[in-house]
Symmetry: C2
Subunit: 269 residues, 2 copies
């Protein structure tokens, strides 16, 4: 690559950092890639760090040590987070989202990349002090949210399946009781997908009684995984006592009345 002007370097640096959240870049890497002196790259990164911080776009963290480097964690600023969650709650509270059986239709929202990216940044901020090796979810509807969260942390995704698959090799299976309707289901995690003693964050889209979440914790226990946090998009207000105690949810489903077609969703504080 030809020698670049500062403005050009800023563009390429910003793009590379934005596309690779959670990834540690050494100064040397940037120096070689952009044919620039360490002092110039440092200055560029300082500008990026300051404007990201001022505009609440994320944290460009300096890694000290022999090589030195930076890693970018994208955030959603507090105000942006509040207004976004409020909008999302409003959209989810539309009466025509009520499905037969008293379920809430939310597939359109939780499969939309722009919404998922914002949610992932919120989880990244809430769990900013943790250093997970993996983000774990259970198929199917939580996968998009979990993948985006994995990307903001710069770590791989692990998907618990509802039965073991020939394409993933030997697996640990457990049976669990779904808290809301007391049916017994199976969940399965291929041995090869999660090394023993990994640090993980569990992400899912919905929790009612917490039976599935409890099952995931039990299954992860079989892998001696350390659970650093559990992030759920929506939990129901009832039952108040969930089967799991430690979780963080963004929205609360307060009311869903199929007859009056009323839905109430609140943003959790």
């Amino acid at each position: 690559m030809d020698k670049l002007k500062r403005s050009q370097r800023m563009v390429l640096l910003t793009k590379e950092l934005t596309e690779n959240p959670g990834k540690i870049f050494s100064l040397n890497y940037f120096c070689e890639r952009y044919q620039s002196a360490k002092s110039s790259i440092s200055e560029d990164l300082n500008i990026i760090r300051d404007i990201f911080s001022e505009s609440d776009e994320g944290h460009l963290k300096t890694i000290s040590g022999v090589t030195g480097g930076v890693v970018f964690y994208p955030y959603l600023g507090d105000r942006a987070e509040k207004s976004f969650l409020k909008e999302l709650a409003k959209d989810l509270s539309k009466g025509d989202r009520i499905l037969p059986g008293g379920y809430l239709y939310m597939t359109d929202l939780i499969y939309s990349p722009d919404i998922l990216r914002k949610l992932a940044k919120i989880f990244a901020k809430k769990f900013r002090e943790t250093k997970p090796d993996y983000i774990v979810t259970i198929e199917t509807k939580g996968i998009p949210l979990a993948l985006m969260t994995a990307e903001t942390f710069g770590v791989p995704l692990v998907i618990i399946r509802d039965s073991s698959r020939v394409t993933e090799g030997s697996a640990v299976n457990i049976n669990y009781v779904s808290g809301s309707n007391h049916t017994i289901s199976t969940m399965s995690l291929a041995k090869r997908t999660l090394p023993e003693n990994s640090k993980v964050i569990v992400i899912d889209d919905f929790m009612k009684a917490g039976g599935t979440a409890k099952g995931m914790i039990d299954l992860l226990g079989e892998f001696n995984a350390e659970i650093l946090g559990m992030g759920i998009l929506i939990t129901t207000a009832e039952p108040e006592n969930k089967l799991v105690k430690e979780y963080l949810s963004l929205l609360s489903l307060e009311t869903l009345n199929s007859e009056t077609r009323e839905v109430q969703i609140a943003v959790k504080e």
Copy 2:
């Protein structure tokens, strides 16, 4: 936001464009957001366009018309694409990936955000002339790849399920014959998730005989969807005649010998 210097504006503009591929931004939006004159923003965008183009990072397309605006499509340059796919093929060709039954373990790679992002950019480039409304896949293993591809196009993801779910409302189900082992399975797509007459690109991780792909085409036909393209990460060399004719695959599984533990994967031209 206070008045920004050019270098600061370049950082924020680049971040916003990079994080929202496929999204159309009007010049006015940027002018208001960054408190800057249209001429300054235009100049910034020209710098960004040129350096993205020179360094093969993507295409910043100008939208003409009353309002005027830009939209960013990230690409992987030809050289970067070739070396990345070669590395991926090499990694997938490791003998210890062979599972009992002659299956290839690839979960670790297709759930890794950094690999997925590159693959998504490759698909975005191959299908650059198309304007899909949705990216469609079938659960489970193709979901991460399909979601990342959806993000590069700035459109929502649609997931075909293996049975209909109470949480998604009424659905169209079809039975299909899996080409490789002639078993009959079901796939299901909730009516609400895909409007009639949508334009879609189908993305999946693996294709052998093409039974599943054929099933997806049939099911999408029930929604009068127009299929603009089908992108598959890996297809098997055998059988040569797949049940679907029009598809684009990135890698070809040439050999998988469980006894000699040999795997050969080639990059498709």
